[in-house]
Symmetry: C2
Subunit: 239 residues, 2 copies
Amino acid sequence: MADVSAVKALVFDVFGTVVDWRTSLINDFTKWSKTRGIEADWTALVDGWRAVYVASMDEVRKHPERGYVILDVLHRRSLEKLVELHRIKGLTDADLDYLTTGWHRLHPWPDSVAGLTRLKTKYVISPLSNGNVALLTNMAKFARLPWDLIMSAELFEHYKPDPETYLGAAKLLCLPPEQVMMVAAHNGDLKHAQQNGLKTAFVARPTEYGPLQKVDFEATGDWDIVAKDFGAIADRMGC
Amino acid sequence: MADVSAVKALVFDVFGTVVDWRTSLINDFTKWSKTRGIEADWTALVDGWRAVYVASMDEVRKHPERGYVILDVLHRRSLEKLVELHRIKGLTDADLDYLTTGWHRLHPWPDSVAGLTRLKTKYVISPLSNGNVALLTNMAKFARLPWDLIMSAELFEHYKPDPETYLGAAKLLCLPPEQVMMVAAHNGDLKHAQQNGLKTAFVARPTEYGPLQKVDFEATGDWDIVAKDFGAIADRMGC
């Protein structure tokens, strides 16, 4: 087994790893749309929204001269295009705000809060997410995620998987990268964390993308921990 | 009474406002020095340390070309000079680390945790302190401060009372300044917060500097709230 005894802090990918964004958004929008009398295929909208996520961050990466743009703004821009594409009618500006902040109202996977609560007794725990600070803060209050602090790509003005995020998190914690463990349900995120010297823990979330899930059913790299859920990570970390 | 109904987040000065740094450090060092067999006038050291605090931050402000320097490093540099000045003998490098991280092990005033816990039910609560992120994170775990997130001068690479700190906090929260309330035991901090558009709450901490206290026995500005402790702030904010 990998030696994780030097780890002092665990940093977590959030969308998909800590919270079930897909089910949360579909349920939220379906329930809300009935009260608003708006008709739409919310599953298609949500899947389409997530499908353009990486491209929307690539735009920020390609145009540093335009400055960093937070995820709430990227979400809103993508939503406006998708609403047109899907011909969803009758949405006011306030409705678009409501839908955009749906990403603040995501429910945790069943094991997330209990696992984080155990890990917090012995380690510093923080998100390391592409969500902006306000998004992650509001989500933590909504989902009762017991973070010690909120670390976001916004603090580094770089989206994951840029090295500035992993190294920036370690720097803010005043820890060498090898004392920080990245926890994610995505092998790609862990690959970049590992390349930057962080320890790694994989947890499978095989229903994250629903029937559209194509990757990340299992660990595909040499990660320090491979666990079935956050409880198993807490076990392995001695909490 | 001032209208504070639009406030969504409260940000707190920490040293002196949330925690009693002076008593905490003197007690910690006195107890520790007995086990280490080190003799010193710890009260004089602690008072001297705090006395050079503002000057140490001014050095960072005067030399932007040297880059931002976190408070842990400023504390360590000041300590090394003071140890020489006070002729304290026998301190190892590990001892100097222990003393420096004394600023991470500060005890809250008796009303702090209960007041913060009440305020957290309805508002986002965060430090807005010159302490660095790791210092504030470690302190929160030590003192059980239930912050929603950790905001530090380090995130803005500017020390309070530079405007970048107050405005940077509002920006990270995605709130206009008038929806953010600064809570402090220091009239000067509140003056700058108010000048930058934040709401303000003063709480008197008349024993912060012990017998050396000269100012801040009472509110000297037109603050939105003047309270005797955090419980009274929670009352006023409807928690």
